[in-house]
Structures are given as C-alpha cells and as structure tokens.
C-alpha cells in the first residue's frame, strides 16, 4: 500500500479506518492490483516514473457518504481526486493530477433521479453514463433525446464538468452550457445547491439555471472547488427530422466566405447541428474538394426544408461553391436508417469511435490511443488557413514523415461560435516515441500561445503548462482562482493541480 504525498502512515491509517466505517470496508481500495485500475489508459507517461497514479480509492454511494469521506480527508489532510466514471480518455482518464491522491470514485452514485419529458430535463448522479440515461429514456418511452459524445460510455456529469461536447443540436451539445443546477459537496463537507436549487423545496431547480445573486456553477467546471453529486441537464425534445447538406469548394481561399456564411446562419439559429469542416492538409486526393462543410438542421420537416432552402441560397450566392442537398431523416429512425447514419447525431450513444480510430485495412496509420491537443481559434476562414500553416510548419516537419503518426487537424464546432482545431497525438507502448510526442505537444502549446490560441482541455501532464499560457496581466486569472481555492478548500484536499490550480502548500513560487 502506498501513501499519499505528505501524509503520515498514522494519518492515512486513521483516514482509511474512518472511510471504512463511512462507506463499508469493501468500498475502500488499497491493494496495488485494485488501485492500478485507476491508471490513465492513455497516459503520455504510461509506464514511466512520472506517470500520475493513485494511492488508494474510496467509493461512496450516497451524498451523505461523500460528505463523510470528504470530512475525513479534510481532517487528515488527505488529497482526494473525484472521478465520475473515469472515462475522460485522451484528457486524463481516471488518474489524479497530483500523483498519490486518493481517487474518490463516484460510480456507485448511478441514479437517474428524474427525467421530465414535459419540460425536457434530467437530474442525474455522477455515475450515470450516457448509455444509462439513454436506456432509462428508452424504457420509459420518453420523447426526449440526450446528446452523447464520442464515445458514449462516460459520465453525463463528468463529461460536462470536463468541458465535453456532443453531436446533436445547439445548445444541447455544449454539455456544461446545457446544464441547469448542481449539488456540490465542499471541502468541509457542506452541501450547496446552485441556482433555484438553493430554495428549500425548490420546484424549479432544473427549470431555470440562474437563481438569485452571483452565479457560481462555472466555478465547478474543470475545477477543484467541490465534488458535484447531482446535476441537471436540459434535454432536446425529439426533433421530427434531421437533414444534413454539404457545401464544397475546390478553391483554398473559399474557406473564408464559406465560414462567414456558416457563422451567420448559425448565429441566426438556422443551422443548429454540429457542422463539420474537412479539408486543408487532409484532402483525400486529386479531384476531391479542397473544403467540405456539412450543414445539419434539426427540426420539424417543413421548417427544416424551408431553412435548408434558405441555407442553399446563401451558400450558392458564392459561385465557386457547390451545394449538395442531403437526405432528410425522419425520427424515430427506421431500422434501415439506423444502419446508415452516424448514431451520435441522433442522440444514440455508442463506441464506434474506437473502431474508427483503430488500425484497420482502411486506416493503416491510426491515432489509436491518443491525447488531444485542442486549441480554440477564431471561427474564421483566415484562422483556419493560419492554423494549417502552423500545422505544416510545426507538426508535419516535426513529425518527420509522420514518424509520430500525428493525426489532424480536425476542425470541430462543438459549440456555437467556437472552433476547435484538434490534433491527436498517438500514445503507445513505445516510451521513446511517447517522449517525442510529449516534446512536440509542449512545443505546440507554446507556439500556439504565441499566436493567441490556447487549449480548452488537456491531459493532466500538460495542464500546468497550458494554464501558464493564460497569463494576461501577470496571470491575474490564475491568482484569482488561487484566492478562491484557498478560501473554499484551505487544506487543499480536492483535486490538487487540476487545470493548473494548486493549493497553497503545493504552489510553486
């Protein structure tokens, strides 16, 4: 059994004893074989001394048990690292940022507390996965959709708190943005409900997110200020139809007007699906379009068709663009349609992304296990062209004939008005290669920051580096976060170092 950092054997033994009393001995894990299951499957330091690992794990099943575990940790100054289902692959998995922390595993808290069809919302616990919520809705025959990410086996709450996104309509595919109300256990064990939930016997916790006074929910996103034990989400009433058309161009410079048109249509809420942009250095071959944009519209069929006519008119006003109207799919999908669509676009969770990203005859040089480099850049064609130059200069050259097998860039529009230029860095069993991947990743972070771009999410190994690039006014944002951290978690027991926020006793000068 290993000890958490800066914790004496006596203190740890006392904490373990208290936790066993609180949650039951069978839910406190200290044996190496058990704790190893919390390793990050895609750690960029996999198998190396610097890999971040847990020292133990404890798995409460109720709010009261979470409170008890946290109070004990606070009393004995034991660092905790809460996880939901631990599926944040490519961005850290279930391993703690501060190596040696005790994983606070919330998978047993897996109740779907409510799904309200009439007002289209859900209230869930952290252990509820997208598969679970989908299954609950299907069994109850409720006419609402969830918005699963790729893949769908993760926690609904965990994905939202990590800043994840999905593939259906806005605003639902912004998972944190579509939440409504939280229940949080603070480091001292106190329970807080946010928004309308702060009203005892509130009738509108999941109906309105703002409540009264300063809104604090954002403090719990990608953070270490509390343990979220319940969260509400607005769901999408099942749309009658989805139609996805395609706009292509053979001209490189056309990405500028293409994106301008798309942005305007999206800001007008005419294009509400997750647009995808393909092109640039990934162009598949001679004769293929230089740029391809997919334009999905969800809604009632007459509205979808009318909106698509308008969208077509706007794109085809640019003579060099080609507009291809896509098939309209009515929902619920027919069995035949189910085999022809990308399921996540229809709110159906699945695991196909692993097969797609894996090595196979059609994909001989895959990313496989990978970490995501995910800078946010302005949503303009000029930025995409600049990002492509940046990629050509720093990635293609640095990867030396694709030696590292870097895959990208993938232009993602998970959220309205936002463009993420994702690059996937393969992580494998070859430590020397992983070392090169890490060096390139770190270089890209710095070079991107020089251009005014920064990542929205990152694996634990790079969170300090990326946080350091958000350095406006002598890192005043970091200092504000540290001030808040010291106030709400003075002993620094919760998720030390997560997203670059360290407690006072672990802060570097």
């Amino acid at each position: 059994m290993s000890l958490p950092p800066n914790v004496s054997q006596t203190a740890f033994d006392a904490a373990l004893k208290a936790w066993r009393q609180s949650v039951g001995g069978e839910w406190v894990f200290t044996e190496a074989a058990d704790v190893a299951l919390y390793r990050d499957a895609y750690s960029p330091f996999y198998g190396e001394p610097e890999e971040r690992v847990a020292s133990a794990a404890v798995a409460p099943a109720t709010l009261e048990e979470v409170q008890a575990v946290v109070r004990t940790a606070n009393q004995h100054r034991i660092p905790l690292y809460p996880i939901s289902t631990g599926r944040n692959l490519a961005y850290g998995g279930s391993a703690p940022v501060h190596s040696g922390s005790v994983v606070l595993d919330l998978k047993r808290m897996n109740r779907v507390i409510e799904v309200n069809e009439r007002n289209a919302y859900a209230l869930v616990e952290p252990g509820v996965s997208y598969f679970d919520l989908y299954d609950h809705i299907q069994k109850a025959k409720l006419d609402v959709w969830i918005d699963p990410p790729d893949p769908g086996w993760g926690s609904v709450i965990g994905n939202a708190l990590d800043g994840g996104g999905g593939w259906t309509a806005a605003p639902f595919r912004d998972h944190f943005g579509s939440h409504c109300g939280m229940e949080v256990v603070l480091a001292n064990g106190e329970v807080v409900r946010t928004g309308m939930g702060a009203l005892p016997n509130s009738k509108s916790w999941q109906h309105s997110r703002w409540g009264f006074g300063p809104w604090v929910d954002g403090l719990f996103r990608q953070s270490n200020f509390g343990v979220v034990t319940k969260m509400g989400f607005h769901l999408m009433p099942r749309p009658d139809a989805l139609m996805t058309s395609t706009v292509t161009s053979m001209r490189d410079e056309d990405i500028v007007p293409m994106l301008d048109v798309l942005n305007r249509l999206e800001a007008q809420h005419l294009v509400n699906g997750s647009t995808q942009i393909f092109g640039g250095p990934n162009r598949p071959g001679a004769g293929s379009p230089t740029w391809t944009i997919q334009v999905p519209i969800y809604g009632p069929e007459p509205v979808v068709r009318a909106a698509m006519d308008y969208v077509k008119a706007k794109f085809t006003a640019i003579p060099s663009l080609k507009f291809t109207e896509g098939e309209l799919f009515r929902t619920p999908l027919s069995p035949d349609a189910l085999t022809r669509v990308r399921l996540v676009n229809f709110g159906i969770p699945n695991l196909s992304t692993f097969a797609m990203l894996g090595r196979n005859p059609g994909n001989p040089d895959p990313a496989g296990g990978h970490i995501g480099f995910s800078p946010i850049v302005p949503r303009t064609g000029e930025s995409i062209l600049e990002f492509r130059r940046y990629y050509d200069e720093h990635v293609t050259k640095s990867s030396v004939g694709r030696e590292l097998g870097v895959v990208g860039p993938v232009y993602m529009t998970c959220w309205e008005r936002t463009l993420v230029c994702l690059i996937m860095f393969p992580i494998g069993r070859d430590k020397a290669r992983n070392t090169k991947v890490r060096a390139l990743f770190e270089k890209l972070v710095r070079v991107a920051a020089d251009r005014g771009w920064a990542e929205y999410r990152a694996p634990a190994a790079f969170q300090d580096l990326i946080a350091s690039t958000y350095s406006y006014n002598d890192s005043s944002l970091t200092r504000l976060r540290e001030t808040l951290k010291d106030a709400v978690d003075p002993n620094g027991i919760l998720s030390a170092g997560r997203y670059g926020v360290w407690p006072k006793h672990l802060r570097k000068a």
């Binding site: 069978e26 839910w27 894990f29 074989a33 058990d34 190893a36 299951l37 919390y38 390793r39 499957a41 895609y42 996999y46 798995a59 289902t85 631990g86 599926r87 279930s94 595993d105 998978k107 047993r108 897996n110 252990g127 509820v128 996965s129 997208y130 598969f131 679970d132 989908y134 299954d135 769908g152 086996w153 699945n350 695991l351 196909s352 692993f354 097969a355 797609m356 990203l357 894996g358 090595r359 196979n360 005859p361 059609g362 001989p364 040089d365 496989g368 296990g369 694709r402 393969p426 992580i427 494998g428 069993r429 070859d430 290669r433």
Partner: protein, 204 residues
C-alpha cells in the same frame, strides 16, 4: 447489487444497460449439432475485414462455436444486445480474433462484470504478408507458443482456432490486471494488427 469485485474492476463503466437479451449460444449466428463441445466458450467475435479472422470463425463455427461478425470492428451492438445481458446473468466466456479496439472496449466492459482478459496475443501482419506473433498473456493455458504459430506460417490462424477451441476456464484462475490492449506497440507504416483474446475468469 454490484459486488465489490465487480465494481472495482471497473474503473469502468457502470454503463451496462439492462437490455433484455438472449443467451449467447441460443442467439448464435452459427450453432452446429456438436455445440456441446463448446461449453467453455460462449461466443467468438471475428472481424470480417480480415481473412485470417474470417477463417478462424469458419473453423470454429464448424465445430459448434457461436460466432458473431464485426463488420467494421465496432462492438457496441453485440455488447448491448448479447454480451451485456449475458454478463448480467453471470460470467461467460467470450473470445475474439479482432482488431485491437474491440478487445480494449470489451475488456473495459468486462472489468465491471468481474471478468478479465485471460488470453491475449497480437499478430502483426506486414505488408509482405509475413506475420509476427506476440503472446502477451495466458498462452500456456492454451498450450500455445510463438514457435507453434511461426511453424504454422501463413496458416497461423488455424492454430489459433484450434487453441481457442481447446480453452477451458481454470478453476484456479489467478487474479490479473488490465491487459496491454489500451495501447498499440510501435508498428511500421502499413502494417496491420490482429489480436486473439479470451475474456473469462471466475468472479472472485
């Protein structure tokens, strides 16, 4: 109620929906009259994109194994409709000759049912057709060695089919952790990687 062991070996997915399903053997794609020979093995998954995988499925189905095709390597449907319901009822053995991601996903799911990867081999298929084999776990329980596979040459998959057919769960299954399925070995460009595997083991 989930047991401590099932939960633990999770790290995983609480995510096994309780979808009604049929027993694996009854739902088999192919079941021969000699099915009793396969009491140990409940289902073989094969990836129809690979001739070697198809050959193993053909051989095993002839002798009574239930086999299921993965058209594109994705395990979602077979897991939801067949494997998850079976694992909710109790431990049952699933094997495969598939691409690596199928094993990775099913291992993660298996851990939450108290099951483990008890056999894992990798077959690196080079552009010239030659194949390198790495036996990573449990080969001894199948009486299988790399030299066996090398001797078999281009017909190595017949040897794998034979070994999978003979597998019987051990009553003294040692406790093992996660396999190496999450990450790939370093491979030269244009090579393919097939995995042979068995997920099984008793609940402990």
């Amino acid at each position: 109620m989930t047991s401590r062991r099932e939960f633990l070996e999770v790290a995983a997915l609480s995510a096994v929906p309780a979808i009604a399903g049929t027993p694996l053997k009854a739902a088999a794609t192919t079941v021969s009259p000699q099915a009793s020979a396969f009491d140990a093995l409940q289902l073989l998954l094969f990836d129809e994109r690979y001739s070697q995988s198809r050959d193993v499925a053909t051989r095993m189905s002839r002798t009574g194994a239930a086999v299921h095709s993965l058209a594109d390597g994705d395990v979602t449907q077979v897991w939801l409709n067949r494997i998850a319901p079976a694992w909710q009822r109790g431990p049952s053995i699933v094997a495969g000759v598939t691409a690596r991601p199928a094993l990775f996903c099913l291992e993660q799911l298996a851990l939450s049912s108290g099951l483990r990867v008890v056999f894992h081999a990798e077959h690196v298929i080079h552009a010239d057709g030659s194949t390198e084999h790495s036996l990573l776990r449990g080969a001894e329980s199948l009486d299988l060695s790399s030299s066996d596979l090398n001797r078999a040459g281009a017909r190595w998959h017949a040897r794998i089919a034979d070994a999978l057919t003979r597998y019987r769960p051990s009553t003294a299954q040692s406790r093992v952790g996660r396999s190496e399925a999450a990450l790939e070995p370093f491979l030269p460009p244009r090579t393919q990687l097939l995995t042979s595997w068995i997920i099984g083991g008793d609940r402990s």
